[in-house]
């Protein structure tokens, strides 16, 4: 049982947390032709946009209800209605999301009522689903906001089996995949490929690997997301033969989907490491009735070999982890699988999944907490987002970037951590980091009597002369 150490200081220093609000926005960005509109002041959106632009190095569609003094005091529902109308009119999106901010929630803005007003006032846009979701930034973190948005999308858009006449298993090869915020576009690509190798058709909700994978499209400009899960697919989820749920944070969304559609689900905390991936492959094998493809068997054997090669470097290696609960739990278990130890762990919020983190305790806090913990437990490598650079420098240890945001390097969003292949690559990377530490190095000892010339400040000239003269051939 992991001990959770609560926040015990007033000031958050070097914050680890990213807001629920932008987490929700990210979930909407995983749908095709979507537009999230943050209900708050315009700064909430501007900051969120920069956050994702720097991380993905892509244009990010993100709008705002632009609450001002008047709407903040007098009521902001009208701003939501007008904002939705403007976006619908200008961009004709397939999906509009309205995550709320701390400002809107504190004001007591009723975003559900605002959406209803929009429906009443502008019936011509009835075909465009609008999903309000309550995601104030004074609670939760990016991971929870993402999960809440997916849950709200399912609740709002997915019809019940009765309404739509869907039937689990009618689309024999379809598998719904609910994925948490900790999976990168690179992870999702890998996951889809694995599922497809069993002859199954994955419908990934939301699918950032199709929208924010960094591809160069035909269109020169799009105000909306390009790529992502098709909103129309949401209507077919009830016909799938199974739902895979990746990430503990997605459980509520999964419950919602199961209630609506009756499709049986299989839940995984994460897909890092041999055993976690084995569990996924075994489920796919059973769902599809197909044998495990030789390619995956091979990748599994390659991972096992890498585990052996890497265990010398990673065994007893001491890691400090900072990240949202699912990512933290996944990394800690993967590390434990090769004998490495998570000696310092910090999560921005508490979550039930942290109970499964392979570490003695998790501190709810910031990167300053992580830095202190890492120092006191003599951590050797830090795993954190790009904000960890400074901490790692002060600690004098290397950093592996994972999680949001990664703004000082390229391609962080494309990194594949999961599956046999992703785990193998991660292990190699971590083992190589350990090698750079030159752990076995023994500090050179200079004997007080040594005759070594470089120990002496001035080399005696006559000495050097004897050295050459004295040789006899």
């Amino acid at each position: 049982m992991t001990e959770i150490l609560k926040r015990n200081k007033a000031l958050s220093v070097s914050p680890l947390k990213a807001s629920q609000t932008i987490g929700a926005a990210l979930a909407f960005l995983g749908f095709h032709r979507a537009m999230p509109m943050l209900h708050g002041s315009q700064g909430c959106t501007a900051f969120g946009k920069v956050f994702f632009v720097r991380h993905f190095r892509e244009p990010i569609p993100l709008q705002t209800t632009a609450m001002d003094q008047v709407t903040t005091v007098m009521g902001s529902e009208e701003s939501v209605v007008e904002g939705l109308r403007t976006i619908a009119e200008k961009n004709n999106p397939s999906l509009m999301g309205v995550p709320t901010t701390g400002l809107a929630e504190t004001q007591g803005s009723d975003v559900h009522m605002a959406v209803k007003l929009f429906r009443d006032k502008y019936p011509e846009y009835d075909a465009i689903p609008v999903v309000p979701v309550s995601t104030p930034d004074y609670t939760g973190c990016l991971e929870t906001g993402f999960a809440k948005a997916v849950e709200a999308i399912i609740r709002t858009v997915v019809p019940t089996a009765n309404e739509a006449g869907t039937q689990p298993g009618r689309r024999r090869h379809q598998v719904n995949v609910l994925v948490g915020a900790f999976l990168t576009p690179g992870d999702l690509e890998e996951l889809k490929e694995i599922i497809e190798s069993f002859g199954l058709r994955p419908v990934v909700i939301p699918d950032l690997s199709d929208s924010l994978d960094g591809h160069l499209g035909e269109e020169d400009f799009s105000p909306l997301t390009i790529g992502g899960a098709q909103v129309s697919e949401l209507l077919t989820l009830g016909d799938a033969s199974a739902t895979l749920v990746i990430g503990y944070s997605m459980h509520k969304a999964a419950d919602e989907l199961a209630n609506l559609t009756g499709v049986p689900d299989h839940r995984f905390d994460h897909l890092m490491g041999l055993e976690a991936t084995d569990a996924l492959i075994d489920v796919l094998h059973r769902i599809s009735g197909e044998p495990v493809p030789a390619k995956l068997e091979r990748q599994r054997a390659q991972l096992q070999d890498a585990m052996l090669d890497c265990h010398f470097m990673l065994g007893m290696a001491r890691f400090a982890l900072a990240g949202d609960p699912d990512l933290l739990t996944g990394f800690s278990q993967m590390l434990a699988g090769v004998g490495a130890e998570t000696v310092a762990a910090v999560s921005p919020v508490n979550a039930p999944s942290l109970q499964r983190a392979a570490t003695e305790s998790v501190k709810i806090g910031d990167l300053e907490d992580l830095e202190k913990l890492a120092r006191s437990t003599a951590a050797e490598v830090l795993i954190a987002n790009s904000h960890g650079v400074e901490s790692a420098q002060r600690l004098g240890i290397p950093l592996l970037r994972a999680g949001f945001p990664q703004y000082d390097t390229l391609g962080g969003y494309q990194k594949t951590w999961i599956g046999y292949r992703g785990t193998r690559q991660t292990l190699f990377e971590l083992a190589n980091i350990m090698l750079t530490l030159e752990k076995g190095e023994i500090h050179p000892y200079r004997s007080i009597y040594a005759q070594k010339p470089e120990y002496r400040e001035v080399v005696n000239e006559s000495d050097a002369a004897t050295a050459t003269g004295g040789l006899h051939h």
């Binding site: 084995d278 096992q304 010398f312 009597y449 005759q451 010339p453 000495d463 004897t466 050295a467």
Partner: protein
């Protein structure tokens, strides 16, 4: 090198087994031989001399696949890490330009790197076409004023072990005795006891492990004139003849050096090891015994008592985790008996050991430690090693790096003990690292994961047996 000279090197009078079986110097068998050649042995023995330009005279295979590939460490000069070879071409060989190229190579090395000396390793091709390496070295030394030492060690002369001796021979012949030791530093006198000069032959400072031992020697007032060759400098090798006691550290690779220094300068020597608590203490006692200074003997005993108590405490938690674990030991250069003692100190059980390079004397010591029924492996082919692991339910295989991947493929925990390794195990403190590394691999969770079948594998398709 003439056949006669090679025979003289193989006929080592100081080897105890020279009177009977010659297992230590057996001929290689075509088709069933592992291990390096004479060039390999010579280079390995001398490369750690840090401020020397080591030039491999030959075509590319010799230096190309062996340079910068060793765990030895230097506390200063890093010149030895720079690979240098004449990289002979077909034209050089056909037209006989090898000597000329070597001469210019030496010039280039001297001018660009200002080495304390140049060592030239002769290899098969130039030896075969008859390059006069010794003459070239002599001429180059006269021309540029930097010592140039020929090491005539063509691979076909024989095994790695012979190469070690050739290297030692070159040092004794060309370098030892060419300079007197530096006067003792003024600070040495303040310590109030006599300072004695010693050397260590066949100690390579792998992973810097000698630095675990040196502080103790400093404390005792033992000045290490030279280690041949870990973290050594050319000017240190020159003074080896003034040592009062020499320690033969690694096997008997350079036993000829110890013997010849004794013949020429009367220096007594002993064979010892810095692996394992018992052997470290014994080595310190042997120095004191050979030097014969009562004060030194007393201080040595006090130091041993202090260090043993300290290390005993540090090892206690590791002993708990290693007790009764079974080891199969298959060492390359490192003496089996020394490591056996070290492992027994940790409470482990050595079920078998390799003796391919062991002398008759080594084997006697092994029997002393492991009992008369000790399993000794002459031929450590991978299949035989794995079979013994299975038969005896071995927990960990300790061997040289080349066997590492054999062990891992067979899903057997492994510890690298050879010269490429990254960790230093010598001295009292080295034992803690050894214990740590053993626990790290034995207790690793990866073994369970690589031995258990995939969840979807049916009983019929299980090809991996848990072991």
């Amino acid at each position: 090198m003439k056949q006669k000279e090679i025979a003289a090197l193989l006929d080592e009078p100081a080897c105890a087994h020279n009177k009977k079986s010659k297992s230590g110097c057996a001929k290689p068998k075509p088709g069933a031989t592992a291990g390096g050649c004479a060039f390999d042995g010579a280079q390995i023995a001398l490369l750690p001399i840090a401020d020397v330009a080591h030039i491999v005279h030959g075509s590319i295979a010799c230096a190309g696949s062996s340079w910068d590939n060793r765990g030895t460490r230097s506390s200063g000069s890093r010149l030895f890490r720079i690979g240098m070879t004449t990289d002979l071409t077909e034209q050089d060989v056909i037209m006989g330009r090898g000597e000329k190229r070597l001469f210019h190579s030496i010039k280039q090395a001297v001018e660009e790197h200002k080495p304390a000396a140049v060592f030239v390793y002769n290899t098969c091709v130039p030896a075969l076409v008859g390059d006069d390496v010794e003459a070239v070295c002599k001429a180059a030394q006269a021309r540029w004023g930097t010592p140039v030492v020929p090491v005539d060690a063509a691979g076909f002369y024989g095994t790695k072990n012979l190469g070690n001796r050739i290297a030692g021979e070159a040092m004794v012949k060309y370098v030892c005795g060419s300079r007197e030791p530096d006067p003792l530093p003024a600070s040495a006198n303040r310590l109030g006891h006599r300072i004695h000069d010693i050397t260590m032959v066949g100690e390579y400072n792998i992973a810097g492990e000698l630095w675990h031992v040196l502080p103790l020697l400093d404390e005792l007032g033992l000045r290490v004139l030279c280690t041949l060759s870990g973290d050594a400098r050319f000017r240190e090798v020159q003074t080896m003849h003034r040592s009062e006691a020499n320690m033969m550290v690694c096997s008997k690779a350079m036993i000829n050096v110890a013997r010849k220094l004794q013949d020429a300068f009367g220096t007594p020597w002993f064979e010892g090891s810095f692996y394992g608590v018992r052997d470290v203490s014994q080595a310190l006692r042997d120095f004191a015994r050979l030097i014969g200074d009562d004060d030194l003997t007393q201080r040595t005993e006090a130091l041993i008592a202090r260090e043993e108590a300290k290390i005993d405490l540090a090892l206690e938690p590791w002993r708990e985790r290693l007790r009764a674990r079974k080891v199969l030991l298959y060492t390359g250069g490192v003496k089996s008996w020394s490591v056996i003692a070290a492992l027994q100190d940790l409470g482990m059980q050595v079920v078998a050991t390799g003796t391919k390079k062991s002398t008759e004397e080594d084997k006697a010591r092994i029997r002393e430690l492991m009992g008369q029924d000790a399993v000794m492996l002459e031929d450590g082919n991978p299949r035989a090693l794995i079979d013994i692991v299975r038969q005896h339910d071995v927990d960990v295989l300790i061997a040289g790096g080349r066997n590492m991947y054999t062990a891992l493929k067979a899903r057997i925990p492994f510890l690298d003990i050879n010269q490429e390794r990254e960790f230093g195990y010598a001295g009292y403190t080295g034992m803690v690292e050894l214990a740590r590394q053993l626990v790290l691999t034995i207790e690793s969770p990866v073994w369970r994961q690589v031995r258990s079948p995939a969840p979807w594998a049916t009983a019929a398709t299980q090809h991996v047996e848990a072991c």
